[in-house]
């Protein structure tokens, strides 16, 4: 049984069909890509997967359970994590604090324990600190742990967002345009990082991306959306030579004079 099984989800906004009959399944260790021109509905699919929107129809099964319409924080507890297209870091907080936020749902000491500073508080806080620092180290951000997130260079902010998402211990990681704004060198590093994350954390990854180097370099299967509908799916090689895909991105060939 696949880890994530989406069957025929659709959603409309005010009469406009944003996503129409979308289906997809991902296995436990797959890296898939979701591409398509701007406005094709890719982030809307992510938003339905993560509970920001509820699909009008269709089902989403994750790890054997139906998650369509669940609240975002419950979906995170089901172990799906995401990053955002516009990087939603907590800009005024430190790098370390940004990661520690993810551990709130991974710890369970109650309000009374906090107020009376019972042993569980110290134990779990120490654990949170240790795990957060370990994660930061892995992403080479431990040196900047007290730096305000807003002060990080763009590439590091993206890394921090990924680190924060991984801190929630997901089985599936959704990356929304992780290479946006990166130069070729950074994109290459990101490609290796994504492969490495899949190995080290044993997770499945679904990414939305426009940068074709990254997509072709790291995805095992690619699904192409245009105007909310799937127009092609297959391996990178198949997609590259698919005329429908080329047409969607570049338009039809102009008639010869």
């Amino acid at each position: 049984m696949p880890l994530l099984d989406i069957k025929n989800i659709s959603i409309q906004f005010g009469g406009l069909s944003a996503v129409d009959n979308f289906s997809m399944s991902i296995g436990e260790n797959d890296i898939y890509g979701l591409i398509g021109p701007n406005g094709a509905g890719k982030t809307t699919v992510f938003n339905m997967l993560t509970g920001v929107y509820s699909p009008d129809s269709g089902t989403i099964m994750f790890d054997g359970k139906s998650i369509a319409g669940m609240k975002p924080y419950d979906i995170t507890r089901m172990r799906i994590a995401r990053t955002f297209q516009n990087i939603r870091l907590m800009k005024n907080l430190s790098v370390l604090d940004n990661v520690k936020i993810s551990f709130v749902s991974q710890t369970d000491y109650g309000l009374a324990t906090s107020i009376f500073r019972l042993p569980a508080y110290f134990r779990q806080e120490k654990d949170t600190e240790k795990k957060s620092m370990a994660l930061l180290k892995v992403f080479n951000l431990d040196g900047k742990k007290d730096e305000k997130a807003a002060n990080l260079p763009y590439g590091e902010q993206r890394r921090l967002e990924i680190a924060r998402a991984l801190a929630t211990n997901p089985k599936l990681l959704l990356l929304d345009e992780p290479a946006a704004g990166m130069n070729p060198q950074e994109t290459q590093e990101l490609t290796e990082l994504i492969r490495w994350i899949r190995e080290k954390f044993h997770i499945a990854i679904l990414l939305i991306e426009h940068d074709m180097r990254l997509v072709m370099g790291v995805c095992e299967k690619i699904i192409v959306l245009d105007y909310g509908k799937i127009i092609a799916e297959g391996t990178p090689k198949e997609i590259q030579s698919n005329p429908k895909v080329i047409e969607a991105y570049l338009g039809e060939e102009a008639p010869h004079a």
Binding site: T43, N47, V52, F84
Partner: protein, 294 residues
């Protein structure tokens, strides 16, 4: 309650409601254009009432010139407040602006209290002929009808300004998207000043009308009507002019009927309705739901 009594209360309610609507319009216009809940707006209403008072008693002006002078004066005060206290905080957080507005409110209330004293003043009795009018079986006061008529005229004028003039277009554009409006060549600062001027003028008119109807003005007179007008604006849909209009009228009518039926509830009924509406339909009666793009 007989049908005749019902009609009488309805007229009273509509006239009270039209006053609330005049004040509510100022709240909604300012909120629509700079996102501020202008806590000082109810005090501009009070300032209008006082300007009218001096026009009527010291200058012995009749009703319409008094009204116009009060509106102009209130408009000027509104623009000054915006220029001096709010514009420097245009880029500041919402809450800072809110606190500054509270400060201006206190300043106006206590300032007028210090200068003119806290004793209520009265408009001269003969400023408007108070006669009993009979519309069929219904007895009402000419004052109520004059208030209703004046308010309606002002609101029609407002509609004309908003939808038929260049400045009105600029106001609508700036409300929708300040930055885009600036890029289209609209003088955003002037537009915002105009919004304050018009909203304040309407509040000033309300002040004069209430001053004449209830025959008493004091520095703190704006507080109660202010909260009510504001809740009316929100419950009609904050930022929407028809919403303020509708909200004000409905609130005035409901409050009048509740006062007649069970007066202890009258002070709170506006809020109770507001809270119910906000929980059921947060964007207000006429508002549209705007969701944040993720």
């Amino acid at each position: 309650m007989t049908f005749v009594e019902f009609l009488q209360q309805l007229i009273n309610g509509l006239s009270l409601g039209s006053v609330y609507a005049l004040i509510a319009l100022g709240y909604t216009m300012v909120y629509g254009i700079i996102g501020l809940i202008n806590f000082a707006h109810c005090d501009i209403y009070m300032v209008g009432a006082y300007i009218g008072f001096f026009a009527a008693t010291s200058l012995h002006l009749p009703f319409i010139p008094t009204l116009i002078l009060a509106m102009a004066g209130a408009g000027i005060v509104g623009v000054l407040v915006e220029r001096i206290a709010y514009r420097p905080l245009r880029k500041a957080s919402n809450i800072s602006l809110l606190i500054t507005a509270m400060g201006v409110s206190l300043l106006l209330e206590n300032g007028f209290n210090c200068i003119f004293g806290g004793d209520p003043r009265s408009y001269p009795h003969n400023i408007l002929k108070q006669t009993n009018i009979e519309l069929g079986p219904v007895h009402t006061d000419s004052l109520h009808l004059i208030i209703l008529t004046t308010s309606l005229v002002l609101m029609v004028l407002l509609q004309i300004i908003i939808y038929r003039t260049k400045i009105g277009k600029a106001m609508r554009a700036t409300s929708a998207d300040k930055d885009a409006a600036a890029l289209m060549g609209i003088n955003v600062n002037a537009t915002i000043s105009a919004t304050f001027a018009i909203g304040s003028a309407l509040a000033g008119a309300a002040g004069v009308l209430v001053g004449i109807l209830y025959n008493s003005i004091d520095p703190y007179m704006g507080i109660q009507p202010g909260i009510k007008a504001f809740t009316a604006a929100v419950f009609g849909g904050i930022g929407l002019i028809p919403g303020a209009f509708l909200g004000g009228l409905i609130l005035g009518v409901i409050e009048t009927f509740v006062t007649a039926w069970y007066s202890p509830l009258a002070g709170a009924i506006g809020f109770i309705i507001l809270i119910i509406i906000l929980i059921i339909k947060p964007s207000g009666l006429l508002g549209k739901k705007v969701s944040e793009k993720v």
